[in-house]
Amino acid sequence: MMSFFEEALRILYAAILMGAVVFVAVTAESLHYKTLSGLDKRAGRSSARHIQMPFGLIKSSFTRTVILPEGACVPISLYGPVFVFSAFLPVCASVPFCTPVPLLDNGSDILQMFQFFLTSEALAIISIASISCPSAHAVARRMAKDAFDYMLPLVSGFASIAWYFNIAEPDADPFSLSSLSFLLHEGAMGLPGIVGALLFILLIITHVPHNGSGMGCALFSDGELAEYQGCQRTIMQIWGMLRSYIIIALVVYSIFPWDYLKSQVSGAAISWWFQALNLLLFWLTVIAVRFLPAPLCWRAAGYLEKRFSANARLLLAVALAFAAIALVVGDAVRLSLDAAAF
């Protein structure tokens, strides 16, 4: 009986933490929105951002009439977003943001996260496509392209780093989010590897789904799909914000020194104040990255978008990804050869 209550309490704590992550993601988006609007006002420009303020949007959408276009597949377009969001929550639970209440064991496992990223994306595309409008199909196709765009550097980056880690630390788990953090803080990585990893980070942040005005919610920006309204649309929009935020959180976690510190400082994993400090510092860092470096990367990408043709951009992205893989893998080969010579 006692163990049942303990389990229930653990699940409740974890649910509160996941809720807190969603809240922080929406708050970060709101703060960014307010800052942009403030800057627009100060410069005397009328705000060109058609997306509503996130908290206001959530509040109003649950009282607004549910509208579906003619010909939409009702069960999927109405309840599909629910499954999209639910499939994304295990990713949220996997980010080891707070070690005292892990709901999923060994939460920083990358393979586990990718499965849910993929499931959630597939469900989202199905949900949008079920609206059965030409404009909805266009949005679904754009979503598929966006998913491909951000998943490719994410997968190739973590796979290359896992390969490096497998050579540097053969006994440890290479598919862990903290692999890069260990390599960087132990000084095991050579300069080419570090440059390659930084290039991956840059590529991942640049490809985080976002809209033209720097908001993390790329979905239904600029008043798209006006004939699809209601709480189901809001769930999809919150999912969009959360997705962008969690991708940034994954990148930040991969260089955050918590796991390394835990292995170095005795009692760090047990002391509650140290864990609380870690939690606070981690989320503040994620908000900071969301606030400045991420929009800067997006602006740079937007600038390139205007200057170069689609083919040139694709070529540049592929060349940078290959360069990053070559740098990390090349450094790993060097390390392996050094070990063999020794």
């Binding site: 699940i11 009439t65 549910v66 509208i67 030409p134 390969w163 050579i167 788990d173 004939e227 392996s336």
Partner: protein, 107 residues
């Protein structure tokens, strides 16, 4: 029945996955149902759909289609494709078996 897949590296807790998914889905479904109930269980049909924006992916689609037509379909249309497919799979399998241990620690 085991709900956990534990290897030396990771632990996948299927029960926790199902639990998180099911609880979240149930809560959100109830939310949507309640919102619909406020509207007497009905939703509004918006009528005509908005026109699609100019399709920026059509060029990409054309390329994919051309690739499929020129590069993939000739292979699929071959007479002995089944035997070739089995042979390729066998080759990949033997490659995986004989190169075991080549990746990772020793290159």
């Amino acid at each position: 029945m085991s709900y956990r897949l534990a290897t030396g590296y990771f632990v996948w807790d299927f029960l926790a996955w199902i639990l998180i998914f099911a609880v979240a889905a149930a809560v959100l479904s109830v939310c949507i149902t309640l919102v619909l109930k406020r509207q007497n269980g009905r939703f509004v049909r918006s009528g005509a759909c908005s026109p699609a924006e100019p399709d920026i992916f059509s060029a990409l689609d054309d390329k994919i289609y051309a690739f499929r037509k020129d590069c993939v379909e000739p292979w699929l249309d071959m007479e002995n494709i089944h035997i070739i497919a089995v042979a390729v799979l066998f080759f990949l399998f033997s490659l995986a078996v004989f190169c075991r241990g080549a990746g990772g620690g020793a290159i």
